[in-house]
C-alpha cells in the first residue's frame, strides 16, 4: 500500500471518530447527572429560603445552576400531575405555601412517596432559582 493511501485512511478514520465524538459528547452530550454530582452547597432548607428572600439577586448569582443539599423537616410530599414534589414550607404568600420545593428524579419517586411529612430529611438537587419559592429539580434522597 502506498504511503499516501495509508495517510488518507488514517485521516478518514480520525475524521469519522472525530465526528462520532462531536455527535456523542457535544451535540448529544448527556444531561448533568445531578444524583451522582458532588453538592456545591449543603445547608438547612430554612437558611436557603431566608437567604433568597432577603437578597434575591445575590442568592441567584450564588445558587442558581448549582447542586445543593437541603435538609430540614419536610412539610409535604405531593403528586402534582406527573411530578412528585417534596416541600419545606415556611410561610404563606401570593401563590399559597412558600418555601423550598423539590421535584424528584423519576427513579426516586417510589422512595420519595415513602417519606413521612414532618420527618427530618436531606435531599440533593439542582437549584433553578427563586420565584417566591426556591425551586430544586432532579432531586434525589440523600438520607
Amino acid at each position: 500500500m502506498k504511503t499516501w493511501m495509508k495517510i488518507a485512511i488514517v485521516v478518514v478514520i480520525a475524521g469519522i471518530l472525530g465526528a462520532f465524538y462531536v455527535y456523542k459528547y457535544m451535540y448529544n452530550k448527556p444531561h448533568m447527572d445531578v444524583e451522582n454530582a458532588k453538592a456545591d452547597f449543603s445547608m438547612k432548607a430554612q437558611d436557603l429560603y431566608t437567604e433568597f428572600k432577603n437578597n434575591k439577586d445575590a442568592s441567584s448569582q450564588k445558587y442558581n445552576g448549582k447542586v445543593i443539599e437541603v435538609s430540614g423537616l419536610v412539610t409535604k410530599i405531593e403528586q402534582a400531575d406527573t411530578l412528585t414534589v417534596a416541600s419545606f414550607i415556611f410561610e404563606q404568600g401570593m401563590f399559597g405555601d412558600q418555601g423550598v420545593f423539590c421535584t424528584f428524579l423519576p427513579d426516586q419517586v417510589v422512595k420519595a412517596k415513602a417519606l413521612t411529612p414532618g420527618k427530618e430529611i436531606k435531599l440533593k438537587g439542582y437549584c433553578t432559582g427563586f420565584d417566591d419559592d426556591v425551586k430544586i429539580v432532579k432531586t434525589s434522597i440523600v438520607e
Binding site: M26, Y27, N28, K29, P30, H31, M32, S60, Q61, N64, G65, A80, D81, T82, L83, V85, M94, F95, G96, F101, T103, T128, G129, F130, D131, D132, D133, K135, V137
Partner: protein
C-alpha cells in the same frame, strides 16, 4: 324586625364577599417554548410554573424560572440558558395581566369558557404587552386555563447567533396549560 333585617343584610354582605373573593393557584403549571426550524425544533418544557388568578377581578400572574425549562438535548438547554434568555442575568420570566372578560366565566357552572387576556410579558429583562385568546375550563374546586400565542424574539432583545440565524425562526410559540386549585382566603 328592623334589627333582624339589618343583621340579615350584614350576613348576606359577608356571605357574598367571601364567595366572590375566589382565588385559584398552582405551582405546577406547564409552559412550552417551541420553534420549528429547518435544522431541528427548539422545544423546551417547564412544568413548574406558578400561577395565581383572582376569579373576581380577573387579575392573574404567571411566574417561571428559565432554568426549569427542560430540553431533550443538554446542549440545547445550555444554548437556551446561555445564549437566548441569559438565565444567569434574567432568571425569571413573568406574565402579569387581566382576563378582560372574567364576567363571562361562570365559576360555579362547569364548562369551557373563551377568554381574552391582556398583560405584560417580561422575558430576558424586557417587558412587552401581549393580548391573546385562551380558554378557562371550570370544574368546581379546580380550573384549567389554556392559551397559545406567538412572540417575536427580537421584541425581547433575544439575538440569534449569526451562524444559525438563517435556520432559526424569529417566532417562538408559547403554549400555556395550567391546572389551578381553589384556595379560600
Amino acid at each position: 324586625m328592623k334589627i333582624k333585617l339589618k343583621f340579615l343584610i350584614l350576613v348576606l354582605f359577608f356571605v357574598s364577599t367571601t364567595t366572590f373573593a375566589q382565588k385559584f393557584i398552582t405551582k405546577n403549571g406547564y409552559v412550552r417554548f417551541f420553534s420549528a426550524t429547518s435544522m431541528e425544533n427548539i422545544d423546551g418544557k417547564n412544568k413548574q410554573v406558578s400561577c395565581a388568578l383572582d376569579a373576581t377581578t380577573g387579575d392573574f400572574v404567571f411566574k417561571l424560572l428559565e432554568k426549569s425549562f427542560e430540553f431533550e438535548r443538554a446542549l440545547m438547554q445550555e444554548h437556551f440558558n446561555e445564549n437566548y434568555v441569559e438565565s444567569d442575568k434574567f432568571p425569571e420570566a413573568t406574565f402579569k395581566g387581566k382576563v378582560l372578560n372574567i364576567k363571562d366565566v361562570n365559576f360555579s357552572k362547569p364548562g369551557v369558557y373563551k377568554v381574552t387576556v391582556e398583560g405584560d410579558l417580561t422575558l430576558h429583562g424586557v417587558s412587552q404587552k401581549i393580548k391573546t385568546e385562551g380558554t378557562i375550563e371550570t370544574k368546581g374546586e379546580k380550573i384549567n386555563a389554556k392559551s397559545k400565542f406567538v412572540i417575536k424574539l427580537k421584541d425581547y432583545k433575544i439575538s440569534i447567533p449569526k451562524a444559525v440565524a438563517d435556520k432559526i425562526s424569529e417566532n417562538m410559540e408559547i403554549t400555556v396549560d395550567v391546572n389551578l386549585d381553589k384556595i379560600n382566603k
